[in-house]
């Protein structure tokens, strides 16, 4: 009887232990899953990889998806992988940025983000066997990371896509600049946008960005 009680207790304990382990496993897998969906846990290389594979996917489905379809598909991916806040601020210059009202900042940031997505959606339209290859990841000054990659075209031609990433809002690595064959996208845009700003002002710049978005749409 005593032995029976002991056995009974052991069984109960084992069940309890099993339950604990199960719960632990469950919690862990949930945590893992949530971590996997969260960009915060992604390495810079993974951020770039995610962007590039989305681009390839958009190209592959290019013929089925409309421009708007590609736009809608890429928009969250691009928004999440780029630090548009910092990008537009750098393009316009921190001093100028600080002079803008909150509304103006939001307006230009959103317009610029849309233009970026539109540009991707307008350019990556169909797939001809292109492939992205990540070459290396290395640290840059100011806590930035460079992820170097190549777009290998079907004819063997190569375009270098180098991404500069920076950690923002805690842990998320996000793209702040892209260099096409070494040429800095930020440099080109800064020169172009600031020229318009200085000559025609803020509104003209927003108008120009909107025009460009419209133009991309029309060209489809």
């Amino acid at each position: 009887m005593l032995a029976g009680r002991i056995v009974d207790m052991k069984v109960k304990q084992t069940i309890k232990l099993m339950q604990l382990i199960l719960m632990g496993v469950l919690l862990w897998s949930v945590a893992m899953a949530s971590a996997a969906s969260d960009t915060a846990a992604k390495s810079p290389e993974q951020v770039v990889h995610h962007l590039q594979s989305s681009l390839i996917q958009a190209m592959r489905q290019g013929s089925q998806l409309s421009y708007q379809g590609r736009f809608d598909f890429l928009s969250p991916v691009i928004t999440q992988s780029h630090n548009f806040d910092l990008i537009i601020k750098t393009i316009l210059g921190a001093t100028y940025w600080a002079q803008l009202t909150q509304e103006q900042q939001n307006l230009i940031m959103n317009t610029f983000r849309q233009l970026s997505v539109a540009t991707y959606a307008g350019q990556f339209t169909h797939h001809e066997g292109e492939q992205f290859e990540i070459i290396e990841q290395r640290a840059l000054p100011h806590d930035q990371i460079l992820v170097r990659s190549q777009l290998v075209k079907s004819d063997g031609g190569i375009v270098n896509f180098d991404y500069v990433l920076q950690q923002s809002d805690g842990l998320q690595w996000r793209i702040v600049n892209i260099l096409f064959d070494g040429v800095s996208d930020l440099a080109i845009k800064r020169r172009e946008y600031r020229a318009i700003l200085q000559r025609d002002g803020f509104t003209a710049l927003v108008e120009m960005l909107k025009e460009k978005i419209a133009l991309t749409r029309q060209n489809q």
């Binding site: 920076q166 800095s184 440099a187 800064r190």
Partner: protein, 890 residues
């Protein structure tokens, strides 16, 4: 008269006679004493060429400086190496190489620093720029980034040219690109190469958006180990700098140039030019003095006697200086000037009188007895009076002057002893030749006799001159600018004056110390508000403003340009294989430019594009011309162009990337090498105050110093020291001369025991002084630290000249005409002429201070001559008659 000889007459007569009788012993004694002096001097006499030591440390401005030196000894006697090159990159690199090289040479230099090359500034330099400046740099970098990125992968001429061609074609399509600076820069570089004076393209200037200047300047500061026991204390360090500079690439044909200046270098050039000037003038002086002596004495023997007695007396005086002071400084060394100027005179007087007496008394012993009696007395009065005049300098604050007074005063006594002992002794072996009134004497007498007909005129002119001189007196100036004394052709002087022109970076600035940070800030703010002050620098300025904002802008820059890395190019094989390819690329660029100019008239880049096209056309023409001949010539030319355009690019980018890693600066994070310049280990804070005006100008300097002293009485630094030292010297001399005058008056009263004689002796002296002062105004020769030394000599000559004449007149009762016919008059004339011959040559010295001394002496001696020979005889006229009547009655 012969019967009633005074005691002193008999004493000197006997003294001179016994010297003559014991000639061998006297000469041997003199020679052995001289030999001993030489040995003693060689072993013990030091030369202290440090000019700051000459003033007593009790004077407030020196005390301030001593206090400052205690905390910041590293700024004393610095040298500034001024480096120039056509590009900022080249001058920076050269400065860095030179600084490193000198830092290793601790044997010659205490320390060497090149602030611009300090790792701290290389990393954090951008934080010291203003926010608008930083934004401008960002814009230029953004504009240049695509171009550089494309070149970076293959930094060769044809890549560069084809990238430019693409850019021009983009311009043609209407895109907005800022290519003007690139066009202009490339065009200027090509033109420079074509004209044979190559000038490398500065990417730093291009990236900064500035037009490349003619020259870029950097400063390397070094503190040499100066050896003050050497006459040229900085000689070895300067030689070390020159050879180090040569080793690191400052060769004669290099684009980088180096010049040496700064206090130590200026002092070196000063002494060097003064010495060379003195050397040349000395040789000329020796020749001219010999001519004057031969002409005056008509006796080679007498000339040799005078030179010998001069040398013996000079060495004995130097020996005395060694015993009494132990060292000579730059002022007391002038005792030699005084001795040579005055020491000869006694012997001239003695020998000329001897010559005169021997005409009537042929026996050597008798004539010497007589000369001894007569001259002994008057020479004693001269020597004692002059010596008292010099000794009167001793109580002044100016140690240099005080020591000069002691040495020279004693020198006069030594000269008297030599004249009365050695000169008669030498008569035994080198007797003076006696000639009866030679023609030269007659003609001299005629000249001296000229003013006799115009006594009234002389009196009127004298009174007018006195009035005019008194009016001119307030305009007498003292020039305390030490640069004006120096050789105006010396590298250090010219360079320094160039640096002074940029008042904001003036190497002459006021420094002062504050005891804490609050005081530093308070004083700096108060001084910065003065109109005479352009800026005040302290340790607080090393912490830039708005750093957080600036750091964001710098990070922005880094993000914009991204990582740039340059591929290695082996220039050799690239050049060999692609002459044709490069030429084609250049041609394409030219075509694109021509089309652009045609299509877009009025475009902002039109003019630079046109210029570049012209340069390219020239280059291509050169390439075609030599195409038929030697191909290697083209290869060389293209290789050179490639080098001119691209050689500085990788390094510029590397330095830029370094600068983009700027970190927030706080007082605590400043490197010790930097903060120690502004904050001493004993807790003192240094402030540097810069003038608004060019303080090479005396009035501007005075305004600046006085304004700063109002706020900060403890201010020091070169401007304060030169002003205060100048005034201290002037005060010292006024004090010394007042005492000298008092001493001379007392001496004359005691020796003459007669007020009339005293007044008669003093009148020409004072008149000469007055006229000399007025002469400096008229001829624009302000007094300065150098020529002020001539004043004691003028004092001595003035006393001696007028006293000899008065003494002769009083003692022997000779009247106007005959007075000027005496040997005394001639002796005065020859003495003064030897002084002129000896020192007048200094006018041609490259050292302006020495030259002005020669000029001042010439003015002074001329005035003395006029006063003694023209005015004094007129004054002697009326009391003379009385005296004659008195003596005839007696």
């Amino acid at each position: 008269m012969k019967i009633s000889h005074s005691y002193s007459y008999r004493f000197f007569a006997r003294w001179v006679l016994s010297a003559y009788q014991n000639a061998v012993w006297v000469i041997l004694l003199a020679l052995s004493m001289t030999a001993m002096s030489v040995v003693y001097i060689a072993d013990n006499l030091g030369v202290n060429t440090d000019t700051t030591d000459m003033l007593s440390t009790d004077v407030p401005f020196r005390a301030n400086h001593e206090r400052y030196k205690e905390s910041f000894p590293q700024f004393e006697d610095a040298m500034v190496l001024v480096l120039d090159a056509p590009t900022p990159e080249q001058v920076h690199g050269a400065a860095k190489r030179l600084a490193i090289r000198l830092q290793e040479d601790t044997g010659n230099f205490h320390e060497t620093y090149y602030l611009g090359g300090d790792a701290f500034f290389e990393q954090n330099g951008l934080l010291y720029k203003s926010i608008p400046e930083l934004e401008r740099v960002s814009d230029h970098l953004a504009a240049a980034q695509p171009l550089i990125a494309k070149i970076a992968g293959n930094p060769t001429l044809d890549t560069f040219v084809s990238v430019l061609t693409d850019a021009v074609n983009e311009l043609r399509t209407g895109r907005e690109l800022t290519l003007e600076p690139v066009f202009s820069g490339v065009s200027a570089t090509l033109n420079a190469r074509m004209t044979g004076i190559p000038r490398i393209l500065s990417w730093q200037a291009l990236l900064g958006g500035e037009v490349q200047k003619e020259t870029y300047q950097e400063f390397v500061f070094t503190r040499p180990r100066l050896d003050y026991t050497q006459l040229f204390a900085a000689e070895q360090p300067i030689a070390a700098i020159r050879s180090a500079a040569h080793e690191v690439g400052f060769t004669a044909d290099a684009a980088e140039k180096m010049r040496i200046t700064g206090e130590a270098a200026l002092a070196f050039d000063e002494l060097n030019s003064a010495m060379h000037g003195a050397q040349d003038a000395g040789l000329l002086a020796l020749a001219m003095v010999t001519i004057v002596l031969l002409f005056g004495l008509r006796s080679a023997g007498a000339a040799v006697v005078i030179v010998l007695s001069l040398i013996v007396g000079l060495l004995l005086t130097a020996a005395f200086a060694t015993v009494a002071v132990g060292h000579l400084n730059l002022i007391s060394i002038a005792f030699a000037v005084l001795y040579i100027g005055l020491g000869v005179d006694y012997a001239i007087h003695f020998l000329l009188r001897l010559q005169e007496i021997r005409l009537s008394t042929p026996a050597a012993a008798d004539s010497l007895h007589k000369v001894g009696g007569e001259m002994g007395q008057s020479l004693l009065i001269c020597a004692v009076t002059t010596a008292i005049g010099f000794y009167a300098f001793m109580p002044t604050d100016y140690r240099g002057v005080a020591e000069l007074g002691l040495i020279s005063g004693t020198g006069m006594i030594i000269s008297l002893l030599v004249t009365l002992t050695l000169v008669p002794a030498l008569q035994r072996f080198l007797p003076i030749s006696v000639k009866k009134s030679p023609t030269s004497v007659k003609s001299i007498n005629r000249i001296l006799y000229l003013p006799r007909h115009s006594r009234k005129l002389i009196i009127v002119v004298t009174i007018a001159a006195v009035v005019a001189s008194i009016i001119a007196l307030p305009r007498i100036k003292f020039d305390y600018n030490l640069l004006n004394l120096n050789n105006p052709h010396a590298e250090s002087v010219q360079t320094f004056q160039e640096l002074l022109k940029n008042a904001e970076e003036s190497p002459w600035h006021i420094t002062l110390i504050a005891m804490n940070r609050e005081e530093t800030e308070k004083i700096a703010n108060r001084l910065a508000n003065l109109p005479e002050v352009t800026k005040v620098v302290s340790i607080l300025d090393l912490v830039p403003n708005d750093q957080i904002q600036k750091k964001i802008l710098i990070e922005e820059m880094a993000t914009i340009i991204g990582p740039l890395s340059f591929a290695e190019v082996t220039s050799g094989n690239q050049a060999r294989h692609s002459v044709e390819k490069q030429r084609e690329a250049l041609e394409k660029l030219n075509v694109a430019l021509v089309q652009f100019v045609k299509e877009k008239p009025g475009h902002s880049a039109e003019k630079p594009a046109r210029a570049l096209s012209t340069s390219l056309t020239d280059l291509l023409a050169r390439l075609y011309k030599s195409k038929s001949g030697d191909g290697s010539q083209n290869e060389q030319l293209l290789h050179a162009v490639n080098h001119d355009l691209l050689s500085l690019l990788p390094d510029s980018i590397k330095r830029l990337q370094q600068a983009l890693e700027a970190q927030i600066i706080t007082l605590e994070t400043l490197p010790a090498s930097l903060s120690s310049q502004w904050h001493s280990p004993d807790g003192a804070y240094r402030l540097a105050v810069y003038p608004t005006e060019n303080i090479n100008d005396n009035d501007a300097l005075k305004r600046f110093v006085r304004a700063v002293q109002q706020v900060a009485p403890s201010a020091t630094g070169a401007p304060v020291i030169s002003l205060e030292a100048g005034e201290a010297v002037v005060d010292a001399f006024i004090y010394a001369f007042s005492l000298a005058l008092l001493g001379v008056v007392l001496a004359l009263l005691i020796l003459f025991r007669d007020i009339t004689s005293t007044v008669l002796t003093l009148t020409p002296l004072l008149l000469a002084a007055l006229f000399t002062g007025a002469g400096t105004v008229l001829l624009n020769v302000p007094f300065n630290f150098a020529n002020i030394i001539a004043l004691p000599l003028l004092l001595g000559i003035g006393i001696d000249s007028s006293m000899h004449l008065v003494h002769r007149n009083r003692n022997t009762g000779v009247v106007y005409e005959s007075l000027l016919h005496t040997s005394t008059a001639r002796a005065i004339l020859y003495s003064v002429l030897t002084t002129l011959a000896g020192f007048g040559n200094l006018i041609s010295s490259p050292h302006q201070g020495t030259a002005s001394m020669g000029l001042l002496l010439t003015i002074g001696v001329t005035m003395t001559l006029i006063c003694v020979f023209v005015i004094l005889p007129v004054l002697l006229q009326s009391p003379d008659k009385n005296k004659r009547t008195e003596s005839s009655v007696a």
